[in-house]
Amino acid sequence: MELFFQQLLNGLSNGGVYSLVALGLTMVFGILHVPNFAQGAFYMIGAYVTLTVMTLFGVPYWIAMLLAMLVTALLALSSERLIFHPLRKSPALHQMMGAIGILLFLVALAQVIWGPNYQKMVSPYGEAIKIFGITFTQQRLIVIFATVIIMLILHFFLTKTMIGSAIIAMAQNREGAYLVGINANMVAMLTFAISGILAAAAASLSSPINLVFPGMGDLVIMKAFVIIIIGGMGSIPGAIIAGYLLGIVESFGATYISGEYKDVIAFVLLVIILTVKPTGLFVRRAN
């Protein structure tokens, strides 16, 4: 029973991280219809920025995280301006290649700046605590709570502010949004910035549990794609639910089925889903 709760907790913390990355991905997809492969690179850059400002300048963990969010937001925003904006009328294939180009460039850049080695991020919350006879590391609890708080902030931003409503409106109906005078460029830039922020937050939170290395975004982004297909492309609640679901399924799969093939679970799940239902689960009807 102890193992069960332990795994549930691991699943919730991993799932939260997946959800954050998938949220950014799904927002960008909902508005621009671009599968942004570069999101994994934003995630990786976010982790490195956090680590660097913490170790080089001794900046506290949370402030380092905020700085990383800022940097990746700018990075995501400039990639929208420089690459996705000029490509908006190109065929889907070229947009995907654009995203792949950004991804490969950023991974190589990280290798040049920080080297190819695995690095450890030390957070101030390294201790383990015991509740009801189950040991948790503090960091995992923090990941769980922080992801929920970030999601709540995002929720209130999207539903209670004008800019947030503009994003939602454009995701729901592009033409309608144009008709009521929503500035499409502004919304696109903002959406990319938010996706960068979410990726950096996810990376800063999860890095003390995992490790920091140039390829750290690859698996996460692939799983985020799986999540947004399971959750319905462009659906925000779908991404959150599917993210947690995947985290928990993986965590139990690793303990009760096979630790070796833990990473296959997501992909096999997706292949099965798309095989049975080629349009993806919970897909909204086309506008």
């Binding site: 889907a92 294939l93 290649m97 792949i100 690859d218 993806g280």
Partner: protein
């Protein structure tokens, strides 16, 4: 005079140069790189037939490359099969798997298809990486034999191996050209331009996409098997998504949806990478931005840009000729 420098003669010239390459190049190293170019090009032609001509992005391609390499490797090293039979088996296996994967994956569309195939590719990679007893896991497979001799022709020297690979590349280009210029190729292009429109005029889009997908898998596995026997060592990283992205870059920079694009792109980038040795790990620092610029400004790649240029020149020439004729006619009238 001008007829000497036409396209056909140009191709013959390139062919002759390729044939005499072993006698021209100063050292074996360059020949080795050229042989690699032949191998990668075959695979890139495969991607081109599917992605370039039917317009769907398949990220499982590299998985089939790895299947080809590992099938050949396992059959020759562990089962001791003859090279040529193993090569045939590798292609047949990949083709069968390609039909199965294609049948299921092609029910999805657009972005779903790209992500689905990316997952398939990753599953193939993970299976190779984890199935220790069959594939050797992370240690990989070593001692894959060179192609066995056909009669008196032996393939143990680099030069002979180069000719073999060149033969396969020329065959691939020839087949691609025949496909593209046939009704089948036109059908593929019709699907790429508009699937709905293709359906309305009675084209069975799914059947044709499946055919293109299987052809692409066949070339991927052929190229993989040739790679395995040329390098004589394979590890799971040959199935990694990144390598797949790299091949896509060869295609995009060379010119997607063109016949000469794959070989131009591969030749250019493989040579640039090799001559900029110090860049090996960081090559994407240069090729990433190049890819982005090409995608934005020259969506048809280098081959497309050359085609544009030649057709513009030709138009100008025709225009010039016409003006000359007009002038002459004018002179005659006056006279």
């Amino acid at each position: 005079m001008a007829t000497i420098f036409n396209k056909r003669n140009g191709i013959y010239l390139i062919l002759v140069i390729a044939l005499f390459m072993p006698f021209i190049v100063p050292n074996e190293y360059i020949l080795h790189v050229l042989a690699l170019v032949c191998i990668w090009s075959i695979s890139v032609y495969g991607i081109n037939i599917f992605t370039g001509y039917t317009g769907n992005l398949s990220l499982a391609h590299i998985g089939f490359f790895a299947i080809g390499a590992y099938t050949l490797g396992i059959l020759t090293v562990k089962a001791g099969w003859n090279f040529w039979i193993a090569l045939l088996a590798a292609c047949v296996l990949a083709t069968i798997l390609g039909i199965l994967v294609g049948l299921i994956s092609l029910r999805t569309n657009g972005h779903f298809f790209a992500i689905y195939t990316m997952c398939v590719g990753y599953i193939i990679y993970l299976i190779i990486d984890k199935w220790d007893s069959l594939t050797g896991g992370v240690r990989g497979l070593i001692g894959i034999p060179s192609p066995s001799p056909i009669g008196p022709i032996r393939f143990d020297s680099l030069t002979a191996h180069y000719y073999l690979l060149l033969f396969f590349l020329i065959l691939t280009i020839f087949i691609t050209k025949r496909i593209v210029q046939s009704l089948l190729g036109r059908t593929f292009i019709a699907i790429r331009n508009s699937e709905e429109l293709a359906l309305t005029i009675g084209i069975s889009t799914k059947k044709n996409q499946l055919l293109a997908f299987v052809i692409s898998c066949f070339f991927a596995s052929l190229s993989g098997a040739l790679y395995a026997s040329f390098i004589r060592f394979i590890g799971p990283e040959i199935g990694s998504t990144f390598l797949g992205f790299e091949m896509l870059i060869y295609l995009i920079i060379g010119g997607i949806g063109t016949i000469s694009g794959p070989v131009i792109g591969t030749l250019l980038i493989v040579f640039l990478t090799q001559s900029l040795q110090f860049l090996q790990e960081y090559r994407m620092l240069i090729f990433g931005p190049i890819l982005l610029l090409i995608v934005i400004f020259y969506p048809q790649g280098i081959a497309g840009a050359i085609n544009d240029l030649t057709s513009r020149l030709r138009r100008r020439k025709i225009k010039g000729n016409r003006q000359n004729e007009d002038k002459r006619a004018g002179v005659e009238e006056v006279g």
